[in-house]
């Protein structure tokens, strides 16, 4: 009975929200978002500081923010402070998971599933490929969709594959900790150098090169690779914490 009541209230609420959004004249209907009246038009035209005019893929050089993928431009350049906050969220949650679950000397969780030989070897081979695609996505963040976070997730999924495929496998947590700390410190230090040299925190110091090239968009690929590594190591750390337990 209580569930039914809750269902009715939720239904009514949903209906009310939909109706209120429909006849709210300020809220654009689905699909009719007028981007030109929004802040993001400047991101598309890269015209926040000065208007570079028409941007042609492969020809426009040293725009105010280099990446061809405008979403990466926003995530890693225009609003890269969010991403810094973003990375700290993951950092804290992995730290927290380690605090909550991490014990003294950990050992793998006794699962009643024991992988056979074929799975163990096959997963080794597959691990390499997944890792490579993860790194590829992280590196090409400024050109193709994806970037640091999806790349990091891919890297972590490769670790997860190993954990699942082999019940004795344990990654070197100490290594992940080092990598995570290194990537985080590097990211903040890049920001601080931006502050010292360019006058603004996280400023894009290196020149942006030609839009569309691999080595373009200044510090953004570097930042994204660092993020990829950091996210990968953090999520693998979380996976390791969940799949291990107290004991010798």
């Amino acid at each position: 009975m209580k569930n039914f009541l809750a269902f009715i209230t939720v239904l009514v609420l949903g209906y009310m929200i939909v109706v209120s959004l429909d006849n709210n004249e300020a809220f654009p209907a689905y699909g009719e978002a007028d981007v030109s009246s929004r802040v993001s038009q400047a991101f598309i035209d890269r015209s926040v500081t000065e208007d570079p005019g028409d941007i042609i893929f492969g020809q426009a050089t040293n725009l105010e923010s280099g990446p061809a993928n405008i979403v990466t431009a926003i995530v890693a350049d225009y609003r890269s402070f969010d991403t810094l906050g973003e990375v700290t969220v993951l950092f804290v949650s992995s730290l927290g998971v380690a605090l909550l679950l991490g014990g003294k000397k950990q050992k793998r969780l006794e699962l009643n599933f024991h992988p056979n030989f074929m799975l163990r070897v096959g997963s080794r081979a597959l691990f390499g490929i997944i890792l490579m695609t993860g790194v590829y996505i992280a590196i090409h963040g400024h050109l193709t969709p994806g970037g640091g976070f999806p790349g990091g997730a891919m890297i972590a999924s490769s670790m997860l594959l190993l954990y699942l495929a082999d019940d004795e496998f344990r990654a070197k947590i100490k290594g992940f900790k080092m990598l995570e700390s290194f990537a985080g410190t590097a990211y903040v230090l890049i920001g601080l150098t931006g502050l010292l040299l360019g006058g603004y925190f996280l400023e894009n110091l290196l020149d942006n090169g030609v839009i569309g090239d691999l080595f373009s968009a200044g510090i953004i690929p570097i930042v994204y690779v660092l993020i990829g590594l950091k996210v990968g190591s953090e999520i693998s750390g979380i996976i390791d914490n969940f799949l291990t337990e107290e004991g010798v």
């Binding site: 609420l13 009310m16 929200i17 006849n23």
Partner: protein
């Protein structure tokens, strides 16, 4: 000697008393004596300055922030002198009582802090400063009461006084919104008569009732005074209650009464030309008198009995002030003086007895007259004045109040006032008989001895003054006339020895001298005739057989048992009302706690959905 210098002296001596008290308890208490005497004398000097017509205000101030201004007015000075006098007199008791308290140094400090607060309240013309010191007294009084028996009384004291002072604060802010300044006289003048004036009058009356312990808000007074340490009860009933009277004067006199004149309550009031607000306050004052008297009659503890008596005397003050006019005002103000002196003296006498015997319960005491005759005399004079019998000050003020009530044609209230004065004689006599008269109880025989000189001194001064106010009231009535003149009323018609009321002239000195001659003659007869032989307890016989155990022969308890049985059932109407109020708050709190604070997050989500639904309801 400017006012804020005086207040700073009081505060500084308070802190000094604390540190001296840490070293040696008694010395700390002695500091309170010196400080309060000094302050009383300084206030006395101000008397001359004000008589010289310079009602100067002291806002050339270097110590306090600039908006703190003080002004010495007749009204303020009248209250200040009276209360500092009570503080000075009672401070003589401190050294003898201070050992027994848990925090002796704190006691002396807070004693002087409340004195500073009293000065601050009476001698300022700025409402915010008045409220600041008002709260300051509540705060310091709060930590004094639990030094006595338990701290439950202090909580109810705090509750009612804070409710009163916050009502005062709300009234202050209403006036501030109107006038833009905290000036006391300007505020009251602009607001009186307007609709805001009604709220201000109601709130100020509420504050006065709370501080005086009058009928609707009287629960805290007996409990606090009964449980507080002995010296503090004298100060509370003699001095701090007068704060309520001061606020009552502000409310009832300085503000124009509201409500059209005749027949406001549907012709119920037989008052011919009284305003509705005056009539309501007068009725509540009358009810305070009646309930105070009825409750006082059935008390076993002498201190609680006197507490109820000061409650009913508070009722007298309220009735007198609410009627206004020359008689009402002068009667009220004079009653404040008479009651302050009488209740202080009575409480000190009871305190002296309890210091020696450790208890103030009438059932456990008896025959203290043999060992403490002077205390007995002081107590006798005090209760004569409380009962309003001629030679003492109490008679003058009651005479004025009765005339005011009759003159305004308030029959119901007159009945209550008469009942109050008869009742007051009934209940003040009980401690006299139980504590002092009768045979001496064996267990107190060895311990009991007369109070030391330094305790007797203030008691004697007080009783001397009580007699003096009775015999030569004109000196005080002149000063009261100045106060009334300042408040805008017309003073009493005073001959050098006569007071002319509405229906007749009173020569108090003549009465006193006649009374004195009568006492003299009785005394001579008593001396000449054969002395009565003092016999031991065992040396008697009853109905033919000898007595073998030392049991009391005199009967000093339950004088008025039949009267008490009349209203036994519904004694604590107000106490139950506040108990129910408190339980309602507790149940509400517990219900919210149970309903809202569970470990399941669904409550929060449910309320979020309800609120969003409430907002979007209009969209449908």
């Amino acid at each position: 000697m400017t006012v804020e210098l005086l207040i700073l002296v009081a505060l500084a001596s308070g802190i000094l008393a604390y540190f001296v008290g840490r070293l040696n308890k008694v010395l700390g208490a002695v500091v309170t004596i010196v400080a309060s005497m000094f302050i009383f004398i300084m206030i006395g000097y101000m008397m001359q300055d004000i008589n010289a017509g310079t009602t100067f205000n002291y806002n050339a101030v270097e110590y306090m922030p600039d908006f703190v201004t003080f002004m010495v007015t007749y009204l303020g000075l009248f209250f200040a002198i009276l209360v500092t006098f009570i503080f000075a007199m009672v401070s003589f008791f401190n050294p003898f009582f201070v050992e027994k308290y848990k925090y002796p140094a704190l006691y002396s400090m807070l004693y002087l802090f409340s004195l500073a607060g009293v000065l601050g309240v009476f001698l300022t013309d700025n409402f915010m400063v008045l409220f600041f010191f008002f709260e300051f007294i509540v705060w310091s009084g709060l930590f004094l009461i639990p030094l006595g028996k338990n701290n439950k009384a202090a909580i109810s004291y705090y509750a009612f006084s804070t409710a009163g002072s916050f009502a005062l604060l709300y009234a202050i802010f209403i006036m501030f919104a109107q006038t833009g300044s905290y000036n006391l006289h300007l505020g009251l003048a602009t607001v009186s008569g307007t609709t805001e004036g009604t709220y201000v009058l109601a709130l100020l009356a509420f504050a006065a009732f709370a501080k005086l312990g009058a009928f609707p808000l009287n629960v805290w007074l007996p409990r606090a005074l009964g449980k507080a340490p002995d010296a503090i009860t004298a100060v509370f009933s003699g001095g701090l209650e007068k704060l309520g009277a001061f606020v009552a004067v502000l409310a009832l006199v300085k503000l124009a009464p509201i409500g059209d004149i005749a027949g406001t309550l549907g012709g119920l009031t037989e008052a011919t030309f009284l305003f509705a607000s005056q009539y309501i306050v007068a009725t509540l004052g009358a009810m305070t008198i009646v309930f105070g008297t009825l409750m006082a009659i059935r008390q076993d503890d002498a201190k609680k009995l006197l507490a109820y008596s000061s409650m009913s005397n508070g009722g007298y003050i309220l009735v007198a002030l609410s009627l206004g006019g020359t008689l009402g005002l002068s009667g009220g103000l004079y009653h404040i003086v008479a009651h302050a002196l009488a209740s202080a003296a009575a409480f000190l006498a009871i305190g002296a007895v309890s210091r020696v015997t450790g208890t103030t319960k009438m059932s456990e005491l008896g025959g203290m007259i043999h060992k403490m005759p002077v205390t007995y005399m002081v107590y006798l004079i005090a209760i004569i004045s409380m009962a309003g019998i001629p030679p003492m000050g109490g008679f003058i003020s009651k005479w004025l109040i009765f005339q005011a009530v009759i003159d305004n044609g308030l029959i119901l209230i007159a009945v209550a006032v008469f009942f109050g004065s008869i009742g007051s004689f009934l209940y003040v006599f009980r401690p006299l008989a139980a504590l002092f008269l009768g045979q001496e109880l064996p267990q107190h025989r060895d311990k009991a001895k007369e109070a030391p000189f330094f305790m007797l001194l203030p008691m004697l001064i007080l009783s001397g003054l009580i007699v003096f106010t009775g015999v030569m009231p004109n000196i005080f009535l002149d000063f009261i006339n100045d106060v009334i003149a300042e408040l805008g009323g017309t003073g009493l018609l005073l001959g050098d020895y006569t007071i002319t009321g509405v229906n007749g002239v009173l020569q108090p000195t003549l009465i006193a001298s006649v009374f004195g001659v009568g006492v003299l003659i009785a005394f001579i007869i008593f001396i000449l005739l054969k002395k009565s032989k003092k016999v031991g307890l065992m040396d008697t016989y009853t109905a033919g057989n000898f007595i073998y155990t030392e049991e009391l022969m005199h009967y000093s308890l339950d004088f008025y048992a039949p009267l008490e049985r009349l209203y036994e059932k519904h004694i604590n109407i107000t106490k139950d009302f506040y108990k129910k109020l408190e339980n309602k708050v507790v149940d509400f709190g517990r219900m919210i706690k149970y309903f809202f604070f569970t470990n399941k997050p669904e409550i929060t989500v449910f309320w979020i959905i309800v609120l969003i639904g409430f907002l979007l309801w209009g969209e449908l």
